[in-house]
Amino acid sequence: MSKLILGAYAQRNTDDHPPAYAPGYKTSVLRSPKNALISIAQTLTEVTSPRFSDEHFGSKDNDLILNYAKDGLPIGERIVVHGYVRDQFGRPVKNALLEVWQANASGRYRHPNDQFIGAMDPNFGGCGRMMTDANGYFVFRTIKPGPYPWRNRINEWRPAHIHFSLLADGWAQRLISQFYFEGDPLIDSCPIIKTIPTEDQRRALIAKEDKSNFLEADSRCYRFDITLRGRRATYFENELT
């Protein structure tokens, strides 16, 4: 059997994503292109991506409970989040860089531009990162973020959420998104979630309570899987180069 030759990544299905111009999310009005995106045939530029090695990472990089703790533990609900990163054809995505950031239990971010009255937590930073393993599996530990108010309409509130970013095998897979928590009533009224056109895709951003993986007298657990674009194999002409 000869070596598997990979072709291009499957086309991004734009109907599965928010449009750039989404007037209910007001900031998008002046930050969205007027012209249509120009679709190009992929080259080596689009199918390659940087590789990171374990030496880039510290031992607490995926432990948001401890990685900023100074004189004690942060306040809030202890949770573990885990899941698998796969491509659209179901293959595990190995050694992908997954980065996460979030507010603390009050819904307050450790950021110079956040002036919300919700209290800061001196023992919580709010960022972490990890690599997926050979099965595409990732796990991190954190404090469940609180919802927070923001100025879109004046009484807008984000549901509890964790931001995440993925750098995997191809530049075409580059993805930033946010996930939410099962049962949060704010999910149904969030204008940022509502930029996503279909109910199935909105549901794909909700982490599920994973009861059998709760740790007794310690932490609850959420399961969240991520899907990236996948590459087709080439059995006839290879036009990539």
Binding site: S32, L44, F57, G126, G128
Partner: protein, 209 residues
């Protein structure tokens, strides 16, 4: 809806990076010291091969005001046009002292962003063609629902640019110049200036890759 008996998954939908994207991706810019090694905008190491260049610019919204909360990433080949990636199939070794990738945030006051990098070599295009030297660039920010991809070409590569398959696939020829950075010399340093206009007059070409 009828389903075939195989299951293809849908890509996880994109959401905006939001105004606090720095916390996770550039914690030092948010004054957070958590990681020993932070990713940054310095792609040049001591032994990296190639011509040192600085790439800089601003990103403007539909009112021509600079985004001061934008996050910018670049991905590029080494000086010989080889990507330091497992997926590069050129059978030439990539520069071992080059990651090819960097990340930065615009200044919170002025909106200026920059990278210190090397000028990339030409990379093969499809079906035996050759692409002009270029850097892939993506921006994420509050108000941007999905990362916006573009490419940076160089104005001192006019001949190669004229033959570049991607530039030539842009039917509106006058829009091609929005992807070409301008070379200047400043204090003995080579600088390429690349402003990005998200919306309106001279809107930058954004790509669906």
């Amino acid at each position: 809806m009828t389903h075939w008996n195989f299951q293809e998954l849908s890509e996880t939908p994109s959401q905006t990076g939001g105004p606090y994207v720095h916390i996770g991706l550039l914690p030092k810019q948010a004054n957070i010291e958590v990681f020993e090694q932070n990713f940054d905008n310095q792609l040049v190491q001591e032994n990296t091969a190639g011509e040192r260049i600085r790439l800089e610019g601003r990103v403007f919204d539909g009112l021509d005001l600079p985004l001061r909360d934008v996050l910018v990433e670049i991905w590029q080949a080494d000086a010989n046009g080889v990507y330091p990636s497992d997926a590069d199939v050129q059978d030439k070794p990539a520069d071992a002292n080059f990651l090819g990738w960097g990340r930065t945030g615009a200044d919170f006051e002025t909106g200026f962003w920059s990278f210190n990098t090397i000028k990339p070599g030409a990379v093969p295009g499809r079906k035996g063609s050759t692409q002009a030297p270029h850097i892939a660039l993506v921006i994420f920010a509050r108000g941007i629902n999905m990362g916006l991809h573009t490419r940076v070409y160089f104005d001192d590569e006019a001949e190669a640019n004229a033959k570049d398959p991607v530039l030539n696939s842009i039917e509106w020829a006058k829009r091609r110049q929005t992807m070409i950075a301008k070379r200047i010399e400043r204090d003995g340093e080579t600088v390429y200036q690349f402003d990005i206009r998200i919306q309106g007059d001279d809107e930058t070409v954004f790509l669906d890759i």
